[in-house]
Amino acid sequence: MVGLKTEWEIEPAPRECTLAEYKGAEARWCPGCGDHSVLSAVQKMARDKQIPPERIVVVSGIGCSSRFPHYMSAYGFHSLHGRPLPVACGVKSRRPDLHVFAISGDGDCCAIGAGHWVHAIRYNMNITILMLDNSIYGLTKGQTSPTTRLGRASSTHPHGAPLPPLNPLTVTLGISNVSFVAQTVDWNPPHLSATIRAAHDHEGASFVRVLQRCPHFTGDVYADALEDRSHVLLMEHPDGIVLEPAMRERLKNRVDHDPRNLGEAFQLAARTDVYPVGLFYRDPDAVRYDLVTAHGLGKTPSEKLGAIEEAIERFAI
């Protein structure tokens, strides 16, 4: 300020967002539901990165996990069944300043919203997609989902799911222009947090599948892994999901995997003998559609009027 001594300038106190500032309504998920750990991981990451809550938009579909935005204190868009991805892409298209999260479930993403899933991955806009996969329709009371295991009984298939499950990882890896595919589990909060953080860091559409248990309908599906940690295969690489040494040590079954290696990513993603966790694939050079949709941002009203007048003039007689 001209005329004032520099030491007189008042520096506004730096804004410090506390964890409480990211917390919304009390979560109404069942006790033991994996959604709780994902929520708390996202809130902590936002706090750690000091993302202003008003710059966060959480878009979800319909299902248990899609109640997610209500439990955040941020802008939220609890959309329609299967449709969070088009909405999230729309939010991001002209607002590069917003941090956009899309929360979907296995039914929401892989069944009713499957068309959008394929295209949102290909659009590769800078958004974080969390697919909370408990391999069942929970909110509608236990129907078979696309990821329900073969032979598992459900309300719609009391004699067991008739088909092998869809593998969301290999499907996503097979989509052109895919740029980030990771998997984590609800029962390992450090890995979950590290994965979500890496997904948010990535500039592009990051797809994270979280293996979860629904305490009501699928509480037992990962009993093998909980009993014996060697059922979990930790994928490691300096460019991958990096764990604290102590946490890393607890998972003995590890494999080196370069996330630039798509072929190997496919092989790992297709494994059914173990649950691979970590980063399958990352391509920082994939084309980003959000950079395309941002074209023309910042035009002044007079520039716009000039262009419109010129366009109209071409029809003049």
Partner: protein, 630 residues
């Protein structure tokens, strides 16, 4: 070239003065009849004639040649003053083969006396079957009373080009200019503008063909016409309805057009794709119709105004999201360029069958604003209105255009865009966190919304029943209040509207009510009947939800009220149809419910615009019935 033509013109026959004429050019798809028709219309408009055009479009891109269903072309109605509709039967038809002409005969586009210029090349074909069909058809045309002039179109073009299929249309344009006594003044510029991108050689070839056709016309045409033109003095533009919609989108300051390809809506998006970026907007081609509206709503939530443009089948897919926009009070402009339905229906043809779908699509009570432009000019201006209403009333606004407006061209006063028409910048100031994101004004139901980025305005939109904080609430009282507040907004809007203006006397025997693209044809029919002393008036609605006020009072000043609309109604004289079983046209149903007046209807669905003559005939019958009753 100009001087040459002027000297030759003196040898030509004098042109007969006519107040208006209807010309059609039809060809196989891909022969450029549409281009020739558009350019002819453009030239007429530039010389100061009123025009209205209708595209004649086959369902396929390049259907088999010389087939009836493959006819492609244009109808141009030229007048010495403003022309508001496509008119009745054609005065002149130029057909590049005799088979495509049959499709126009089937469509009722010709009358005895129509002058038909048909390319006689087919009578000289090496294929005896083609020759025979041509000879047979020409005889048939003469029997039907058309004045058939066998014209050497292709053989004349062959003198100039080896591939006449690619130049016949310019020759025909030249011939038409001679036929209608148009001076070639700006033709060179227009041809250069149209074909410039294809290079100088193409421009030159087209100019030569045009010139050949013009000269041939002057030397050979037995009859020539002149439609008096008043030179254009005020700034005027000529465009079709989809171009007007697209320019309206730009002038409204909308930033995103999110769409999925569908006929006949897509050409509006094509125009935007080529021109939007200069005005700071983008076109997003989504993976499907649902994603297109979802993306648009995402933009809208983030404070950027968006439009999604579609037709009937696409609109059907969007209805769940439309209900979401109603529930969450998200602004959105949805343009529906109607075609025939249900299902795939008549993809390239006109119908006004989506009124009920627009009003009632989506489960539950989902009130929204529905507007219908009646002219090409209104296609432009109503988008600007729609954008503002969407934001002020936090509501989806559906703009119902149709295939007739989409492809029809008409001159209108050049719009002067204003900064006030543009959407304002996104508000990023702090939001008072004590103010709810849906703080409904209890009288009007209106509220302001916080935009992502506004500190203190964090909230979660949800399609589940919610209170003014957008908090999920299943209690019955909350639902009752939220429903009332969302409904009240439309009463608030209705109370701000003016009653519609009656065309003709404010009272009489019969009142005709219409909406959308039928305006010009209805008013022309009414004017013809009024000139005969019949007591008939008309009224045209632009607001269909909420309806414009005062309708009941207006209706009560007439002995009978009927709608004329292009959507199906049972014929009252058909078997089993009586007052109880009769299914009526859509506006009629709406007006009956709204006014409790016994509104009749006429709802033909020919797949083509209603000609004023047919409307007049129908109304005359109704007036005769009324006369017998009294």
């Amino acid at each position: 070239m100009g001087a040459e033509l002027v000297t030759e013109q003196s040898t030509a026959r004098a042109a007969v003065e006519v107040s208006e004429h209807i010309v059609e050019i039809v060809s196989d798809s891909g022969e450029g009849a549409q281009t020739a028709g558009q350019m002819f219309a453009d030239l007429c408009a530039r010389s100061g004639n009123g025009i209205w055009t209708v595209e004649i479009i086959p369902a396929e891109i390049e259907p088999p040649s010389r087939s009836r269903a493959g006819a492609s072309g244009n109808r141009i109605r030229i007048g010495s003053s403003r022309v508001t509709n496509a008119g009745d039967e054609a005065d002149v038809v130029v057909a590049l083969n005799e088979q495509v002409l049959y499709s126009r005969i089937d469509a009722g586009a010709l009358r005895p006396g129509t002058i038909v210029y048909v390319d006689k090349v087919w009578g000289e074909s090496r294929d005896p079957e083609v020759r025979a069909r041509y000879v047979e058809a020409v005889e048939d045309f003469r029997r039907r009373g058309y004045t058939v002039i066998e014209t050497p179109i292709e053989s004349e073009c062959r003198k100039r080009t080896k591939d006449p299929r690619k130049g016949k249309n310019m020759w025909v344009l030249g011939m038409l200019c001679a036929l209608y006594d148009l001076h070639e003044g700006t033709v060179r510029d227009r041809i250069a503008a149209r074909f410039g991108r294809k290079g100088a050689a193409v421009v030159e070839k087209n100019l030569e063909l045009f010139s050949d056709g013009f000269r041939w016309g002057l030397e050979n045409l037995e009859q020539r016409f002149h439609v008096h033109a008043v030179p254009v003095e005020t700034p005027t533009v000529v465009m079709n309805g989809n171009q007007a919609l697209a320019l309206g989108v730009m002038a409204a300051g909308i930033e995103v057009c999110s769409m999925y390809p569908i006929t006949p809506a897509t050409s509006a998006s094509h125009y935007l794709a080529a021109n939007f970026e200069n005005a700071g907007g983008i076109v997003h081609q989504a993976e499907d119709e649902i994603a297109a509206i979802g993306f648009a709503l995402g933009c809208s939530y983030a404070g950027k105004t968006a439009v999604t443009i579609t037709s009937g089948p696409g609109f059907a897919l969007k209805t769940e999201f439309l209900g979401y926009a109603v529930m969450t009070e998200l602004p959105l402009v949805v343009v529906v360029v109607q075609r025939g339905g249900p299902a795939t229906g008549l993809p390239t043809k006109i119908e006004q069958g989506d009124l009920m779908a627009a009003l009632f699509a989506s489960p539950g009570d989902s009130p929204k604003i529905v507007l219908a432009p009646a002219t090409i000019e209104e296609c432009f201006h109503l988008i600007i209105t729609a954008r503002r209403l969407a934001e002020d009333f936090r509501s989806p606004v559906i703009v119902l255009s149709d295939a007739n407006l989409a492809t029809g061209q008409q001159p209108f006063a050049k719009p002067e865009p204003k900064e006030a028409w543009l959407a304002g910048p996104v508000d990023q100031s702090d939001w008072d966190s004590k103010v709810a994101p849906m703080a409904w004004d209890p009288r009007t139901g209106l509220s302001k919304r916080p935009i992502p980025g506004q500190r203190g305005g964090q909230h979660v939109l949800t399609g589940i029943v919610h209170d003014e904080w957008s908090h999920i609430a299943y209690e019955s009282g909350v639902n009752q209040r939220a429903m009332a507040m969302r409904s009240r907004k439309f009463a608030a809007l209705a109370s701000a509207l003016k009653p519609p203006v009656v065309h003709g006397d404010p009272e009489g025997d019969l009142l005709v009510v219409g909406w959308g693209s039928t305006l010009g044809a209805i008013e022309e029919a009414v004017d013809r009947l009024r000139a005969d002393g019949r007591r008939v008036s008309s009224l045209h609605l632009r607001f269909l939800s909420p309806l414009e006020p005062g309708l009941k009072e207006i209706f009560q000043r007439f002995r009978k009220v009927t709608t004329v609309e292009v959507n199906y109604a049972d014929d009252p004289d058909a078997p089993l149809i009586n007052d109880e079983t009769r299914r009526r046209s859509q506006l009629a149903r709406l007006l009956r419910e709204h006014t409790l007046v016994d509104v009749d209807c006429w709802g033909p669905v020919p797949g083509s615009p209603l000609p004023p003559g047919q409307i007049a005939t129908h109304l005359a019958t109704k007036l005769d019935e009324l006369g017998r009753e009294s």
